[in-house]
Symmetry: C2
């Protein structure tokens, strides 16, 4: 089956619930070689992100993006555009923390946010309510919640790519078979 | 730091050890919408893989690829080429099993294989020993072991992409920001 799916709140929550434990299983206690290395600099000289940076970015999303934007839609509709999201806030906010602390913080914030989402007791008619994205224009609450889940997956995709990149040379001729090594990433950074 | 790394047995084992728990945290109990859906058919009409198919493929690798090939290198060097790997064996072998059973089987085989790897007590001079891949030609033991770890990552990368694909429409205009939705995959299938 390849049919793309309509949004389901239950199914999106099933994914959102699992991300903290997935990242914990993958990253906690893993040597810094994997967790603190990135893919080098972009063509305009910016550092790309390490798994450590990515977990910091997910924390910022929990604090400032997903549930705050859901509340803006429910309270103000299109009348109040979302606040722009700072994609670099984690550089400052993660400073001096260990990856273990970040994983704990992410798990705790995600738990709180999913409890808050549950408390909203959203009905089908709420999911089609509209809000205004500062760049993308009109969006719906269901699109926001679907994006929250796919945003987790985009960063799991990135973490696997960044980690694999470190062994680009070590795999020798097998690099031609390993799809992840052909992935140059698809978004900034 | 973006320097690519030389192979380290300890660091590769740190990754290999974590994959079963990572996939378990992500996939166990997740609705079939996510675990049994794929990305449609390839241009030549073959089904692409669902997360269920991918876990089956990882099991086949544990049984027939990584440690058997390591033993061939140690026992026969380049004199005996590896047996070709059947990339479709899981279609038959996973039949009638639940995803929970596959996750258990993968975890158990990986544990046994890492115990067997440990028992080999590999020394630096073993890691440069050479074997013969039926298509790629001469490879080393360290390249095989690095590939084992990166192969896990290539399939984690694929699982995140296949899962995200199901919500390609549901995210609405955000699709332009979500890198994982721009990834068309990089290997067959």
């Amino acid at each position: 089956m390849a049919t793309m799916r309509a949004f389901s709140l239950t199914e999106a929550i099933a994914l959102l619930t699992r991300t903290p434990a997935t990242l914990d299983a993958l990253l906690r206690g893993l040597p810094n070689t994997w967790t603190r290395s990135n893919e080098g600099r972009t063509h305009d000289g910016k550092d790309t992100w390490s798994p450590f940076d990515i977990v910091g970015h997910l924390i910022v999303g929990e604090r400032t993006d997903w549930m705050p934007r859901a509340r803006i839609i429910l309270e103000h509709g299109e009348a109040r555009p979302f606040d722009p999201f700072d994609r670099f806030a984690q550089v400052k906010e993660s400073q001096g923390k260990s990856l273990g602390q970040l994983l704990d913080e992410f798990a705790s914030l995600r738990r709180e946010n999913l409890a808050a989402l549950h408390a909203l007791n959203l009905q089908p008619e709420d999911l089609i309510r509209r809000g205004k994205h500062p760049e993308l224009g009109v969006v719906t609450l269901s699109e926001l919640l679907a994006t929250w889940a796919v945003h987790d997956l985009t960063h799991l995709h990135q973490i696997s790519r960044v980690t694999a990149h470190q062994y680009r040379d070590a795999v020798g001729p097998w690099s031609s078979y390993l799809g992840v090594l052909k992935c140059a990433g698809h978004s900034d950074p």
